[in-house]
């Protein structure tokens, strides 16, 4: 298989939250979704993590009761109970193709995706707060799983054994997941007491460079949520970084080649969700006042869509045609067109707090806190 074809095929398989290590949340085929779920996947707890897939179209669902389940379509294959709630989205990765999951109790598991058996378990050290909340990342070049812990560090663990390979300072509010470009450079953000918010590049040789430093606001870094993961546009060699401020936030675009700041845009509200990058380069940001903003590649505003929800937490995904899908805390799933007009096309019984996913077939998986994952069948167009 040619590298291009391999890449196209691999983009269809969402092994982690946001599709792949770029976190862009983009499915590279035009889709039209049917308005009613074809089936639901029942869970034991509220689902706050994205659903992930392997190349056999097996899907893996992690929930807040600590249960991880594997399904083939709507048929349960196995389930495994871990030692705490799962907020961080799991990942299928590595040479062995293990499923990795991390809990609020501070444990990382390497699980056999065929049987659900735990192969390795590692407890991340902490004095106070064991939570692992960041979506897991795989860096192929280093064969490591990267995660962020309230213990205060980003860890890179061997995807074969969970052995610790590298770590970096994660600051004082380590919600945010990391992202990686195709060269194996890792991008992360962190809040530092007395210094503010830093946006950092870790090269594949483990050299750390601070690309941006947002000064500490009046409220201090400990009041600044650092939650959205950076989003990478490998084709344009750009990375997008969101920094919250006391009021509002800044969206910044950097060159992944030079590290130079390309533009910066002030946004009216703070942001918790990782943005989505459309194929035309438009970045879609869901904010903490319920607005979905479409931002062009030059940093200008393309559209603003009001979900009428008080806030948005989970972010969204889009397909090749530019249609964006996101759930809100009122339980509504919004479908927003390329131009920013939207409609509600489904209502879940309780809040939707996680980012949706596409299966390799293009079906949309919406995790809900009503203890179901809703699956919407798509037609390729």
């Amino acid at each position: 298989m040619s590298p291009a074809k391999k890449s196209a095929t691999s983009q269809l398989i969402w092994r982690c939250s946001g599709a792949d290590s770029s976190r862009r949340g983009f499915f590279p085929q035009r889709l039209k979704l049917k308005p009613k779920p074809i089936y639901t996947l029942p869970t034991a707890g509220a689902v706050q993590a994205s659903v992930v897939f392997d190349d056999q179209s097996v899907c893996y669902v992690a929930d807040m009761s600590g249960l991880v389940q594997a399904f083939v379509k709507d048929r349960p294959v196995w389930q495994s109970k871990l030692n705490g709630s799962l907020v961080a989205s799991p990942i299928i990765c590595g040479k062995q193709g293990y499923l990795f999951a991390a809990t609020v109790a501070g444990s990382v598991y390497a699980i056999d995706p065929k049987s659900g058996q735990t192969l390795y378990k590692k407890n991340i050290p902490t004095e106070s707060d064991p939570r692992i909340l960041s979506d897991l990342l795989y860096v192929e070049k280093l064969n490591v799983v990267v995660l962020n812990s309230w213990g205060g560090k980003f860890y890179a663990l061997s995807a074969d054994t969970l052995e610790e390979k590298l770590y970096w300072d994660a600051g004082i509010t380590p919600y945010a997941g990391a992202s990686a470009d195709s060269d194996g450079n890792i991008y992360l953000s962190r809040a530092l007491q007395g210094r503010g918010i830093e946006f950092v590049k870790i090269s594949s040789e483990s050299k750390e460079t601070v690309l941006s430093h947002e000064p500490e606001g009046r409220r201090g870094a400990r009041r600044t949520i650092v939650s959205a993961a950076p989003v990478i546009d490998d084709s344009k060699k750009q990375v997008y970084f969101l920094a919250n401020r006391d009021v509002g936030s800044h969206l910044c675009a950097f060159s992944t080649e030079t590290g130079a700041l390309l533009w910066r845009l002030g946004l009216p509200n703070q942001v918790q969700a990782t943005p989505t990058l459309r194929p035309d380069g438009v970045l879609i940001v869901s904010d903490l006042r319920g607005l979905v903003l479409g931002i062009r590649t030059d940093g200008s505003l393309l559209f603003q869509y009001n979900t009428n929800s008080e806030y948005l937490i989970g972010g969204g995904v889009c397909e090749q045609g530019g249609t964006f899908f996101t759930g809100d805390p009122l339980g509504y799933v919004h479908q927003i067109s390329e131009r920013g007009s939207g409609k509600v096309f489904f209502e879940s019984q309780r809040a939707i707090l996680a980012r949706p996913s596409f299966s390799p077939e293009g079906n949309l998986y919406i995790p809900s806190t009503d203890k179901n994952v809703y699956v919407f069948e798509s037609q390729k167009i």
Binding site: S65, S85, R222, V247, R350, T369, K371
Partner: protein, 428 residues
């Protein structure tokens, strides 16, 4: 019938712990309480703390023993409610009250005091999200509750909390989204807001005795909490760093007024005080400036996880709650307030919970959050100290073992919405 089991009034001047001043003597509804009686009561209560549960003493009376073995219990109702819509919240609460039974009778022709869970400022937010969606009770839930109570025949519904503002009561509440005009239009003019940070419009304070108080033998408070027929605790569903979870009982922490218990007091009471109660009821580095000695001195300086749960139970024992309602629609998780920084975050259980026994209600709330309400001390969710729900059961206030509590409405397995746990305090 009034809710005055433990009520003690101040009626005449005596000299108490502030030697130069003449202070009123505590009295109780059934007759005057002399200073000697009062102090004796305080000493006896402090010295004779009962030992319950696994350490049941042979010295316990048969009635105490019976109470220990069979703590009071009452059904707790759970309902899904997605949004802060007045009609939806009122309908949902009304259905819950019907399932619980007895709420109409409880409030008919009664003066109802609703202690609302607001906090020590209205001028903050959590990551840009308003406090009413995270930390404090949303005004829509309060208004829906008030409107229902008026429909049930309540004579008057008084919403209270201690708010750190010297402005008028109406203005102080408005910062939290509580607009008196809107409340009165939904409640046939029967709503009232009272800021209980001091004695307010009353000439003096009320003393309320704590049966078997461990850290406090009595509370000196704004009379609004004593001169009522029915006390309702309107709480927010959330974690609490020191107490594990907040709830109907923890909500009572806002009753002791700043004017006597506040951090901004220097060397005596001050009706202008607006401070929190960190020094007196969390850190316990000093006693309050009440008109009589009412703390036993058995607190542990600096140990919030020891002091806070015990004060919660001492408050719940003194102020019998007739009805607890939880706003669990949109809430903070991991901690109780914006002051814990970005350790905490917003989440959305979409629930309303209600019950007539505060221990049962708080225990069901803990279970809904994914925690064991009977968990041992120093384990989740009580990682920083004592399980106050178990302590309340041992004090005979109610049942905290989930298998012993009847749940009506949505069943627990469906309602459960796991919260991210709180963090363990690290000694610096």
């Amino acid at each position: 019938m009034t809710n005055q089991i433990n009520r003690v009034y101040l009626s005449e001047k005596i000299s108490m712990n502030r030697a130069e001043e003449k202070k009123p003597i505590p009295t109780c509804p059934g007759g005057q309480l002399t200073r000697r009686d009062f102090l004796k009561g305080a000493i006896v209560a402090a010295a004779a703390m009962p030992v319950f549960g696994s350490e049941v003493s042979e010295k316990l009376s048969s009635s105490q023993l019976n109470r220990t073995l069979r703590p009071p219990r009452a059904p707790v109702g759970i309902a899904l409610c997605k949004r802060y819509d007045f009609k939806e919240a009122k309908k949902t609460l009304g259905k819950l009250f019907d399932q619980l039974g007895g709420v109409r009778k409880l409030v008919k022709n009664k003066r109802v005091t609703v202690k609302v869970n607001l906090v020590n400022t209205s001028k903050e937010d959590l990551n840009g999200i308003p406090l009413c969606l995270t930390v404090t009770v949303h005004p829509v839930v309060a208004m829906a509750l008030g409107s229902l109570l008026v429909d049930y025949g309540a004579k008057e519904v008084i919403f209270c909390d201690q708010l750190p503002f010297r402005s008028s009561d109406e203005e102080a509440f408005s910062g939290y989204g509580f607009k008196l005009d809107s409340f009165n239009s939904a409640m046939n003019g029967k709503a009232k807001f009272v800021n209980t940070r001091n004695r307010g419009a009353f000439r003096d304070y009320a003393w309320v005795k704590v049966p078997n108080g461990e850290l406090a033998t009595a509370w000196e408070v704004n009379r609004i909490y004593a001169d009522t027929d029915v006390l309702v605790s309107l709480a927010k569903l959330k974690n609490h760093v020191s107490a594990g979870i907040t709830g109907g009982m923890k909500n009572l922490f806002g009753i002791p007024p700043s004017s006597l218990y506040g951090d901004d007091l220097k060397d005596g009471p001050d009706e202008n005080a607006v401070g929190y109660r960190n020094q007196t009821m969390h850190n316990c580095t000093r006693k309050p400036f009440t008109s009589a000695e009412s703390f036993t001195g058995k607190s542990i300086q600096g140990d919030h996880g020891y002091n806070v749960p015990r004060f919660i139970v001492d408050l719940a024992a003194a102020f019998p709650i007739s009805l607890v309602v939880f706003d669990g629609i949109s809430v903070i998780q991991t901690a109780e307030g914006w002051w814990n920084g970005s350790m905490s975050s917003v989440t959305r259980p979409g629930l309303l919970i209600a019950g007539t026994n505060p221990v049962c209600s708080d225990s069901v709330a803990a279970a809904v959050m994914g925690f064991d309400p009977n968990a041992p001390d120093k384990t989740l969710p009580f990682v920083n100290g004592t399980n106050h729900l178990a302590l309340a059961r041992k004090r005979g206030l109610g049942e905290n073992r989930i298998s012993e509590i009847e749940i009506v409405g949505v069943d627990l397995s469906k309602a459960r919405f796991e919260f991210q746990p709180t963090f363990r305090r690290v000694a610096l």
